[in-house]
C-alpha cells in the first residue's frame, strides 16, 4: 500500500496531450500501487478528466506511455483495455437510460461472456447457462454489496443522482476490474450519500482487492481515503505523495488559493482601503 514499493499496477509516463494548440496534459507521470487508493486532484480545467480519458483510451496521447500490469497499453483500443481489467465510471453518469438497473450491471460483464449470436437467438445451452450464472453473481456479489436490491428492476432514468452513481459503480464492478477508475464519485452528493460512497470505495478495496484510481474534489474525502494523491495544475503534475505531504506542499496551496502567502494576500486587500481612508 506504499506507492513505489511494489511493482505499480498502472504506470503513466511522460504523457502529453493537446487539442489543436491547447495543451491539456504536459509530461504527466505517476504510478499507482496495487491495492492502493490513488486520487488525482486539481482545480477545474487542470486536465483530470483528460487524463482519465487518455488512460481509458479515448484520447491518443502525442507522447508518453501507459503501462498496465507492466504491459504497454498506449495503443490498445478501449474495449481491449476493458477486457484487461480497466473499469471506469464517468463524471456525468454514462448509464444506459433505456435499460433497467439489472441490465446495466450485466452489461459490465460483457467482455467476459462467451455467448454468440446463435446461442442468443435460441437461448439454449450456453446462453441460458451463462445468463443464469451471471444473474446469480450480479445479485449475490454486486447488488447485495452495494445495497441496491430494491431498485434492480427499475429503469435507470427514474433514479436519483446518488443511486445512479452507485449503479454506475456496480456496472464497473461487474467488469471484474483490477483497477477501478472513478471520475468524481461523490460530486453533487449530500453528506450522507458521500459517506455511503466513501464506505463503498473502501469496501471495494478490502473485499475485492481492487485498486482504485479516482478524480475527486471533495477534499475531506480525498484526504481521508487516499493512500496517494497526485495534484494536477494546468496539465502538469505539481505534487505527488501522501495526503499529508501534498497538503503541506506550497505549490498545491498556491494552485488552490492563488497565492501561497496569506499575509501577502491580506496586505493586498488592505492597501486600497488604507488609501481610501
Amino acid at each position: 500500500m506504499h506507492p513505489g514499493k511494489a511493482n505499480p499496477i498502472l504506470e503513466v509516463e511522460g504523457l502529453t496531450l493537446s487539442f489543436g494548440g491547447i495543451k491539456a496534459l504536459t509530461d504527466v507521470g505517476f504510478e499507482v500501487a496495487p491495492g492502493s487508493i490513488t486520487t488525482v486532484i486539481g482545480p477545474n480545467g487542470a486536465g483530470k478528466t483528460s487524463l482519465f480519458n487518455t488512460i481509458s483510451g479515448f484520447y491518443k496521447p502525442a507522447t508518453g506511455r501507459i503501462r498496465f500490469q507492466g504491459e504497454d497499453i498506449t495503443a490498445t483500443r478501449p474495449p481491449e483495455r476493458a477486457k484487461l481489467g480497466l473499469a471506469r465510471s464517468f463524471q456525468n453518469i454514462a448509464l444506459f437510460r433505456g435499460m433497467t438497473v439489472l441490465d446495466n450491471i450485466k452489461l459490465g460483464r460483457h467482455a467476459h461472456l462467451r455467448t454468440n449470436v446463435l446461442d442468443a437467438l435460441f437461448y439454449f445451452g450456453r446462453a441460458r447457462h451463462e445468463e443464469m450464472k451471471l444473474r446469480q453473481e450480479v445479485e449475490e456479489r454486486i447488488i447485495d454489496f452495494l445495497e441496491i436490491d430494491h431498485i434492480r428492476h427499475m429503469p435507470v432514468s427514474v433514479l436519483s443522482y446518488g443511486l445512479q452513481k452507485r449503479v454506475e459503480m456496480a456496472r464497473a464492478l461487474a467488469m471484474r476490474p483490477k483497477v477501478l477508475m472513478l471520475d468524481e464519485p461523490v460530486a453533487g452528493m449530500n453528506r450522507e450519500e458521500t459517506e455511503d460512497m466513501a464506505r463503498f470505495i473502501l469496501d471495494v478495496r478490502e473485499e475485492w482487492g481492487v485498486t482504485v484510481l479516482m478524480v475527486e474534489h471533495d477534499m475531506g474525502m480525498v484526504m481521508d481515503l487516499s493512500d496517494h494523491v497526485v495534484v494536477l495544475n494546468f496539465g502538469q503534475v505539481i505534487a505527488d505523495g501522501t495526503p499529508a505531504e501534498v497538503q503541506a506542499n506550497p505549490e498545491v496551496i498556491k494552485a488552490y488559493l492563488g497565492s501561497g502567502d496569506v499575509s501577502e494576500l491580506r496586505q493586498r486587500l488592505h492597501q486600497p482601503l488604507a488609501v481610501g481612508a
Binding site: 481509458s56 483510451g57 479515448f58 483500443r77 478501449p78 474495449p79 481491449e80 476493458a82 477486457k83 473499469a87 471506469r88 464517468f90 454514462a94 448509464l95 444506459f96 437510460r97 433505456g98 435499460m99 441490465d103 450485466k106 452489461l107 459490465g108 460483464r109 460483457h110 467482455a111 461472456l113 455467448t115 454468440n116 449470436v117 446461442d119 442468443a120 437467438l121 435460441f122 437461448y123 446462453a127 451463462e130 445468463e131 443464469m132 444473474r135 446469480q136 445479485e139 428492476h153 456496472r171 467488469m175
Partner: protein, 346 residues
C-alpha cells in the same frame, strides 16, 4: 409490477413470460392462430400471410433501428436480395424451400454487412441517406444483372413444395409463414435476454460508455446490420413464394419507409412494438378500404374517396407520432396495467 407473482428463482425471474395470466393468454393466441385458417376466407388468409411477412421484416428492422439506434432505409432492398436469391435458387437449382429461405437470409446478410460498414463513421440522417444509396445501387443490380435476375421482366417463382405438398394457396402458405415468423420473433426476443442484445441497446443509448465496457462498436453495429438484413432476407424469400414473381419494382424505397414507419408506430425497441406496428401498417389501409366499401355510396363517390383513405392513413401515423411517441405497445401496456387491478381500482 403485477402482484401475486412472487418469483422464487432467477430463472423464473428471467423468463420471457413470467405470470400465469401471460401463459393463459399465450395459449389463447396459439389456439386463435391455429383455428384462424379454418374460419377465414381467402382474402383474410391472404392478409394474414402478408402480415406474417411484414412482421418478420419489421422485427429485423427493429433490431437495427429500434434497439441499436441505426436508422436504415434499406430494409426493402435487403428483402429484394432475399427474394431474388430464393427465386434464382428455385428456378435454377430447385433446392428445398427451407434451404432457399435460409440462403436468402444469408445472402441478404452479406449485403447488410457491406452496407453497414459506413455506420461506424456516420449516424442518424447521414446513415439513412447511405442506406438509401445502397438501395438505389441494389435496384440497379436487380434491373441489370440479366443472367441471374432476369432484368426488368424479373423471375417467376414456382410454388413452394415441401414433401410433395405444393404451397400454392394462402391457406397452405399460412402454415409455412406463421411458424417461421413466430420462430424469428422468438429469436429476437431471446437475443435481448443475452449479452448480444444488451450490447445493441448500449450502443443506442451511449456508444462511448459501451466502448469502455468492452463492446467493440464496429463489430456490433455490423452484427446488428447483418441480423436485421438476415430477417429481411428471409421475409423477402417468403414474399417471393407468396407473390410468385420478383421484379426490380417489387421492392421500392416506399416499402423501406413502410417498415421504418411500422417500427416507429409500433414502438421502437420492443418486440411487441414491431408486431403491432406491422399489423397496424398492413391492416389499417385494408380496414379503411372495407369501411369505404360499407358506406352507402355510389361507385363514383367510392372512387373519389380512395385518395381520402390514404390521407386518413397518413393522418393516423402523424397522430401516433404526436400523441403516443412510444407507439402502440405503450397503449397496450397501459391497457394491461389498467386491468391488473380492475375492477378494484379504476
Amino acid at each position: 409490477m403485477r402482484i401475486g407473482t412472487a418469483r422464487s428463482s432467477y430463472r423464473h425471474d428471467e423468463s420471457l413470460f413470467d405470470s400465469r395470466t401471460q401463459h393463459a393468454w399465450l395459449a389463447v393466441l396459439a389456439v386463435a392462430l391455429l383455428g384462424f385458417p379454418f374460419f377465414a376466407d381467402e382474402y383474410w388468409l391472404y392478409l394474414a400471410c402478408l402480415v406474417a411477412i411484414n412482421i418478420a421484416s419489421t422485427t429485423g428492422l427493429n433490431i437495427l433501428t429500434g434497439y441499436t439506434g441505426l436508422v436504415s432505409l434499406g430494409q426493402a432492398a435487403f428483402m429484394g436480395i432475399g427474394a431474388y436469391t430464393v427465386a434464382a435458387l428455385e428456378q435454377k437449382l430447385g433446392t428445398p424451400v427451407l434451404l432457399n429461405l435460409l440462403a436468402g437470409g444469408f445472402v441478404a446478410m452479406l449485403g447488410g454487412l457491406v452496407v453497414g460498414l459506413p455506420s461506424l463513421r456516420v449516424k442518424g440522417l447521414y446513415l439513412a441517406i447511405a442506406t438509401i444509396a445502397a438501395s438505389v445501387v441494389l435496384h440497379f443490380v436487380f434491373a441489370n444483372w440479366h443472367s441471374v435476375t432476369g432484368g426488368h421482366a424479373g423471375i417467376t417463382v414456382a410454388p413452394a413444395e415441401i414433401l410433395g405438398v405444393s404451397f400454392d394457396t394462402s391457406f397452405r402458405l399460412y402454415w409455412l409463414f406463421v411458424p417461421i415468423t413466430a420462430l424469428m420473433v422468438l429469436g429476437a426476443a431471446n437475443l435481448f435476454r443475452t449479452r448480444i442484445g444488451r450490447a445493441f441497446i448500449a450502443i443506442r443509448d451511449r456508444d462511448i460508455s459501451a466502448e469502455v465496457l468492452g463492446i467493440p462498436l464496429l463489430r456490433y453495429k455490423l452484427l446488428s446490420f447483418g441480423l436485421s438484413s438476415f430477417y429481411a432476407g428471409v421475409a423477402g424469400g417468403m414474399w417471393a413464394y407468396f407473390f410468385r414473381v420478383v421484379t426490380p419494382e417489387s421492392f421500392p424505397l416506399i416499402m423501406s419507409i413502410f417498415f421504418l414507419a411500422a417500427v416507429i408506430v409500433g414502438g421502437m425497441g420492443t418486440i411487441l412494438g414491431a408486431i403491432l406496428g406491422a399489423v397496424f401498417m398492413t391492416m389499417v389501409p385494408e380496414a379503411l378500404k372495407l369501411i369505404v366499401g360499407w358506406l352507402p355510396l355510389s361507385a363514383d363517390a367510392t372512387l373519389i374517396l380512395s385518395p381520402v383513405r390514404t390521407i386518413v392513413f397518413g393522418a393516423l401515423i402523424v397522430g401516433f407520432l404526436v400523441f403516443e411517441p412510444l407507439g402502440l405497445q405503450e397503449i397496450w401496456r397501459r391497457i394491461r396495467r389498467f386491468f391488473h387491478l380492475w375492477p378494484f381500482r379504476a
